[in-house]
Amino acid sequence: MTNSTEELIRTEKLQKIFVVGGGFARSKLVAVDDVNFHVKKNEIFTLAGESGCGKSTVSKMLLGFLEPSEGNVYYKGKDVANLKKWKEKKGFMKEVQSIFQNPFETFNPLRKVDSYLYDTQKHYGMSKKDKMVEEALEAVGLDISEVKGRYPNEFSGGQLQRISIARALITRPSLLIADEPVSMVDASLRMSIVNLFKELRDNRHVSVLYITHDLATAYYVSDRIGIMFRGNIIEMGDVEQVLMNPKHPYTQMLKESIPEADPNKKWTERISIKELETEEYMRKGCKFAGRCPYVMDKCKDNMPPELQAENRMVRCWLYE
């Protein structure tokens, strides 16, 4: 049931297949398969997973930078997966903005950083008098005087990331897609950016789709979470439930493997990774079957569907 007044963005059976190689040695890589999730108003939803699980591909499809092979993306009930007209695209981008992983690549090193801010203000129909740029910078804790006339190489990663967020806020979006926003920012500066997301949700009514592999910050900042593994969402629900009481064996292993910043809580058990990554991707059936401690025969041949168990969605035959 889609409650289109509460929901902002929703995906249905989203799929992306890449063709790898050429000529006679082509093979298909299913990067994203049957992904179904939604982000509501005033919430922070995390899409979490290890590198290579498909989460960045999902975000590119949401923004329209990549066309889905199958499936749909709806924004406030409207199909936005294949917008062709510039006016429609711009209307969508006004509502849905994004920031990226590498703050040093986000801006052209040969252009002044404030030019992007003024461009955004101009292109979305606001005049200089509205002072949108100054306001947006204030929202991220920066003053226009610190930013005006300077080039990207004069700032630190954390500052650039804030400026990037400021630029995204100028259009007064309802949804901010943040793709690994703090992984390249120093550990000591991360929390200030992550705290900013909380503030955006609480005071400015901007929802955040937080894409990351760092479960500690995901736990700290999100309301709901979806865990991705090799292209599928394998567990999804309230963050407290999913991360504190994981049901899928992969989520359990993931949680176990997060290093605690506490020398008294070191890992005691050993793990062993024997399989090469590509072998896992090409599996028929559940992609985790090669490493799962609870694997059954069924798992190797059949991909489990989305099942419900204890207040969350789990893709695992254990919960049939």
């Binding site: 923004l63 930078f65 510039w86 711009k90 981008m93 903005q97 994004s98 990226f100 992983q101 590498n102 690549e105 986000t106 801006f107 052209n108 090193p109 040969l110 252009r111 992007y116 461009d119 955004t120 101009k122 292109h123 979305y124 300077r150 080039y151 190489n153 004069e154 990037s164 630029r167 995204a168």
Partner: protein, 287 residues
């Protein structure tokens, strides 16, 4: 602008190149004040070695070498500038469109491009030149040369665009609401400008070389004085054999200076304009 110039002058190569080109430019301007008509023969005593008032000597056709050179430089430079200028425009348009659009447009444009690249240039030029020899004035020659000079560089520009398209700031610009054309101009041009300059100058060297080649082979309009035609006539009249060294040496030395200066200009400018060194210079004043 002025600051950039001052910075460049610190580079020895640029300084030398700049001085030489200034001298050559000055000589081209002098051609407008020439007391002799370059197309007429026997206006001065023949075969005189360098002495006053004929400081470069005279030819067997009775022409003053110094004033001939002024015309030669002017015409050669004109041909080179026309050729490389037009070919830049074509290369930029093809490279930008091909690189950014991709898909079918890219495939079609690159197929055309590659056909131009593999064409055997010299035989075709010889063919064209021998057919329309009489009507081959400078502008025509410049245009013909430009049609052959764009293909290689279009590919270079295209690959630069291809890599720029995947960089994150492209997405930032799109999200900022920038439309395609403005995006390409504002975001990518600063990266392409060094390539354009470097290839412009290289193209000038190539065009001049082509002109000289055609002239020596006697295929261009040998009445119009250019560096190439000067060499042509000097060879034709057996100047070396007869010991009139000033006749052959003048255009050769001029062309050597021209080529070396253009080359040094190209390398020092592209080093200066290279985005990587530019980034280091940016914001330095603020520290």
């Amino acid at each position: 602008m002025l600051e950039a110039f001052k910075e460049l002058m610190k580079d020895g190569r640029f300084k030398f190149a700049f001085i030489v080109i200034c001298v050559l430019a000055f000589m081209s301007i002098l051609s407008f004040f020439s007391p002799y008509d370059p197309l007429r023969w026997n206006v001065v005593p023949r075969d005189r070695p360098p002495s006053w008032p004929h400081i470069f000597g005279t030819t067997s056709q009775g022409q003053d070498l110094f004033w001939q050179s002024t015309f030669a430089i002017r015409n050669s430079l004109t041909i080179a500038l026309i050729a490389s200028g037009i070919s830049r425009v074509i290369a930029i348009i093809v490279g930008l469109v091909s690189g950014y659009k991709g898909g079918t447009v890219d495939t079609v444009l690159m197929s055309i491009n590659d056909s131009f690249v593999v064409m055997p240039l010299l035989p075709i030029l010889i063919l064209i030149a021998s057919v329309i020899r009489e009507n081959l004035n400078m502008v025509t020659l410049g245009i013909i040369l430009s049609l052959f000079g764009w293909a290689w560089d279009a590919r270079v520009i295209r690959s630069q665009i291809l890599s720029l398209r995947e960089r994150e700031f492209t997405y930032t610009a799109i999200l900022s609401g920038t439309k395609t054309f403005n995006l390409v101009v504002k975001e990518y041009f600063p990266f392409i400008i060094p390539i354009i300059f470097a290839t412009l100058i290289n193209n000038m060297i190539w065009a001049t070389g082509m002109e000289v080649t055609l002239a020596i082979l006697g295929l261009s309009n040998t009445e119009i004085p250019t560096i190439g035609t000067m060499i042509h006539w000097a060879v034709n009249y057996q100047s070396i054999l007869l010991g009139y060294w000033w006749w052959i040496l003048t255009p050769v030395i001029i062309s050597v200076f021209l080529f070396v200066a253009l080359y040094l200009l190209s390398t020092s400018l592209s080093e200066y304009l290279d985005p990587r060194t530019r980034i280091q210079r940016i914001g330095k004043a603020k520290e």
